[in-house]
Amino acid sequence: MKAFSYEKPTDAAAAAARAAEVEGAKFVAGGTNLLDLMKLQIEAPVHLIDVNGLGLDEITETDEGGLRIGTLVTNTTLMADDRIRRDYAVLTRAIAAGASGQLRNKATTGGNLLQRTRCPYFYDTAMPCNKRAPGSGCGALSEGAFSRQLGVIGTSESCIATHPSDMAVAMRALDAVVETVTPSGNTRQIPLEEFHLLPGDTPEQENALMDGELITHVVLPAPVGGVQSYHKVRDRASYAFALVSVALIRQPDGTGRVALGGVAPKPWRSAEADAELPNGARAVIAKLLEGANPTEENAFKITLAERTLAAMLKEA
C-alpha cells in the first residue's frame, strides 16, 4: 500500500469537486473492496475521500412510486428494508446471496456497483492484465491460463473479466437508474444498463462515471410485481462469487425479465431475450447468450445458465 492522505467531507457536490481537483483521488465508502485492492497495490490512490459523512444513507419514496436508495445504505439495510422485501424481492434475494454478513454490514450501494472484477490475473500484480495495467496483455487469455470463472459474453480480446456483483444483477432486472453529482455540481441520471461499460480495447474503463463524479443514489422505478427470484450457482454453498446467477421477474401471463450474473463484464440482459420468456429457458438463453465466446474452461456456463433458468421457471 502506498501512503495516502484522507479527508471526510460533508457535502456531496464538494466531494465530487475535490475528487476531480486532486489528482489520484478516490472515494472510499465501506472500503471492503478498495482497501483490499490498495493493500495489494492494484489500486494506489494518493488521496482518499471518505463519503461516509455525506448523509446519503436513506431510502425514500419517489413521486413515481419507486424508491430512491442513498449510496451509503448498506447491503444489510437494503436487503432487510420492508419495502424492498415486499416490492423488489429479487434485490433482497440477490444481496443475501452475496459475500458474508460482516461484509454486507460494511458494503454500500454505490461501492457494490463499483466493485472490481475477481479475475485471478487482475489480482496478481506480476501478471499481465489490460484492466490493471493497460497495454500489458490479458493474463487470462494466454495459452494454459485459468479462466473457469471468467466471462463468456460481452468480453473482448483485451479482457474477459466479469463484473462480480449480485446486487447489480437484480438492479438491472429492476431497471434501476444511478444518480450522480458531477464535479461541477450537476446531477445526472444514468440507467444501470448504460452504467457499466464493455471492455472493448479499454477494459480499464469500467463505467460511465466521469472523473470525480459521485454516485449519490440508485433509483428503483415503481414496483413491477410478478414473482421475483434470484438463483446463484457456485461450487460451494456460500461465500463464493457466482459461476452463473439468474435474476428473474415473472408475471402471471408468462412474460417477464431475466438478467444474468457471472457471465459478462456487466449484468447481462436484453429486451429480445426477455421477450422469449413465454417460450422457455432454452429460447431465452439462446437469445441472451447469442454470440457468446467462451473459453474451453468456462463454456459450461452457457448450459448452466439455461438449466438454472429452467429450474426457476418451473417454480415461478
Binding site: A3, A145, R148, H231, A311
Partner: protein, 724 residues
Amino acid sequence: MQFNEPAGTNLFDSATIVGKDHTRIDGPLKVTGAAPYAYERHDVVEGQLYGYPVGATIGHGTITAMDTEAAKAAPGVRAVVTTLDIDPLELGMNNVARLFGGSEVMHYHQAIAVVVADSFEQARAAANLITVSYEEGEAVDYSLDAAFERMEGTGEPDTQYGDMEAAFSDGAVTIDQMYHTPGESHQMMEPFASIVDWSDGGDLTGWISNQMINWTHGSLATTLGINKERVRIESPYVGGGFGGKLWLRADTVLAALGSRAAGAPVKLALPRPMMMNNATHRSATVQRIRLAANPDGSLRGISHENVSYCLPGGRGENATAQTPLFYASEAMHVKNHLAEMPLPETADMRAPGEAAGLMALEIAMDEMAEALEMDPVAFRLANDTQVTPSNPDMPFSERHFAECLEQGAEAFGWDSSRPAPGSRREGDWLIGQGVAGAFRGALALPSGARAAIENGKLVIETDMTDIGTGSYTILAQTAAETMSLTMDDVEMRLGNSAYPVSSGSGGQFGAVSSSTGVYAACMALREKIAQQLGLEEATFADGQVGSGNERQSFLELDVEAVDSIQWGDFMGEFQKATFGAHFVEVGVNVYTGETRVRRMLAVCDAGRIINPVTARSQVIGGMVMGVGAALSEDMALDTGRGMFANHDLASYEVAVHADIPEQEVIFLDTLDDVASPLKAKGVGELGLCGVAAAVANAVYNATGIRLREYPLTLDLMLDQLPEV
C-alpha cells in the same frame, strides 16, 4: 522407557481421566485472544521491526538483476536483503527447493528478497519497489497425464506378488480406470509467521509457528550455517499446519536474515496470496487402478499405479500408500512414480499418500461392487484381512475395519438394497448414499518429556506442539492419570527447543508418541518421589503416595525426572494402522449439478481414544477437509506459466459452514496393546481418509454419473444430468 512387549494390564485400564471428555485446557486463552501466537508476541523482545517478503514471479529460471535502490530509500526501511546478496543456503530437513540465496528460481513465489522497515505498511510498500529481471527457464510440459503415459509400467514395482495375469483372466470380473486428484493447499488459518532475533548474528531466538520443534531447530541451524546450540525456538501455539509447518519455511529464514541485516528483531508473516506457491502443497495425482474379482466378491488382483510431481529430490504424493495393506487379494502390483516438474514444492499434507490414494481406490471399490452387483459394504467386508496381504505371517496388531463398516451401516441407516442410481429424488434434488473405507498407518516416534514438581504443581515440559489438536489437554490428562493427580494440579509447557525432544505433531503420530513420552517421564518421576521419600513399593492414589497404610501428599516436594519412550523391535512383527468407514448422503441438484452434502458419519477404529471431545474435533475437521477435497479444492495450474493462479482464499475454495451438515462420529474405542502403553493410536488424519470417495460414490448413487476426477464440480456433470 522401552516399550518392548505388548502393554498388558496397566493403570490406563482403570483410568478416570484418560479416555474421558475434557474440554481444552487452553480453550479460555484461545477464545479470549490471549494465547500467544507467533506474530502477536509483541512482548518477547523489544524493538521489533517488520519484514515483508518478495516472491519470484516466474515459474522457473534465473534472476539476472535486482534493483533495490528505491526500496532502500523508501520511508522507514532499515534493511533489504536479496537472494543475490548471499550464496544458496543449505537445505534443511526435507526441504527440496532452497529457501533463499543464489540466482536460481525453482518455483513461482520462491522468496527472493526481504524488506525490513519500522512499520508493516512501510515494509510492504518498499517491497513493491524492488524490480527484478529474469531469464525464464525453458517451457515445460506440465501434463501429468503425459507423464503417466511415459512412466506407466516402468521401474521395479513397489509391491508385487501372485500371478497378476491369471488374476485378470478366466472369468474374472474386472474394472480398469484412470483417476485424477488435484493439487491441494494446506491453507491453515494462521499463515507462516515468525519473529526472529538474530540482531548480532550470534545467538538466535525464533518465536515461530511450527509443528516440529526439533526438526526445525536443526534445519534452521543447518540452513543458516550456525551451531544448533546457538539457536532457540519456541512455538507454543500454532493456528493449524496440516503438514505445511512440518519443516523450516521461508518466513523464519527471511525473518532471521532480515534481523541480522537490520540489527534488530524482525517479525514476518507470509501474505496469504504467497502461501500457495511459496510453501509446500499436496501434488496432484494421476492414478490407474485395475481390479479383478471372483463372482463371489473376493479380490483376485489389484494393480495400482500413481504418478505425482515434485522438484528433483522431492517425494510427491504416494497415492498407492494404502494399497498393499488395505484389502486382501490373491495378486497385487503397486508402483508409485515421480515426475520432476519445476512447480512449487510438493510435500506432506494431512494423511499424505492415503488422502489422495483413497480418493481413487475407494471409488474403484465402489465400481467393482457395482460390477459384481454387490452391496459396497458387503464387498469390502468380503475382502477384509487380518494379515498383511503380501505377507500372511505379519498380522495387524488390531484391525476392526469390519466393525467400522457394520456399525456404520447400522447407525447411518445404510440402504443395502441399493436403489438404482438416480432413482431417489426429493424436489429438485437427486439423493444418494456413498460409503468408503478409511485406512491410515499408525506410526510412533521416540518422544521425551520432563516431569517435575514445582511450587505445588506437576509441571510437564516437552517440545511437543499443539497445532489445534488438543495436545495440551491430552498430555495433561496422561500426566494427571499417571501421577493420580487432578487436571488442575498439572501445568503444561509445550513447544520450546529448551524442552526434551518429542515426536512433534505430524503423521497422526503426535498424540500416541507424546502421551507415551509424558507417561515415561511421569513414571520416572514416581520413582524419584519414592526414592526421595524412602518408600519401597510406592503406590500413587488420590493425589497421594504411600506404601502400606501410610499415605502422604507429594506436591510439596522438589523433584524432577526426564525420560523418553523408545519403541521396541517387537512392534516390527505387526502391521499397525487405523481404520474407519465413512458414510455420506448427498443431494445433487438435478438442474444445476450443484452437490451438497446432507449428512455424514465416520466410524473410527483407532485404539484407545484419549479424549473423545478433542478426538471428535480432529475427525470432524478431517471430514470437513474431505468435503473440500471432494467438491471444491483445486489448485488451478496455469500450464503456460508453471504457477497456481488461484492463490488466495477467494478462489481456492475450502468448505465453508454452509457446506457442512450434520456430522456424526463413532469411536469403536478398541484397545491396541501393541501400539503403545496407552493402547492408543492416532485419529488426526484418519478422519480425512476416504471422505472424498464416499462423496463421489454418493454422487454416483444419486445421479448415475461416475466421476473419477476431483473436485466433483458441476461442469463435469451438466451434460449427463437429465434433460430439463
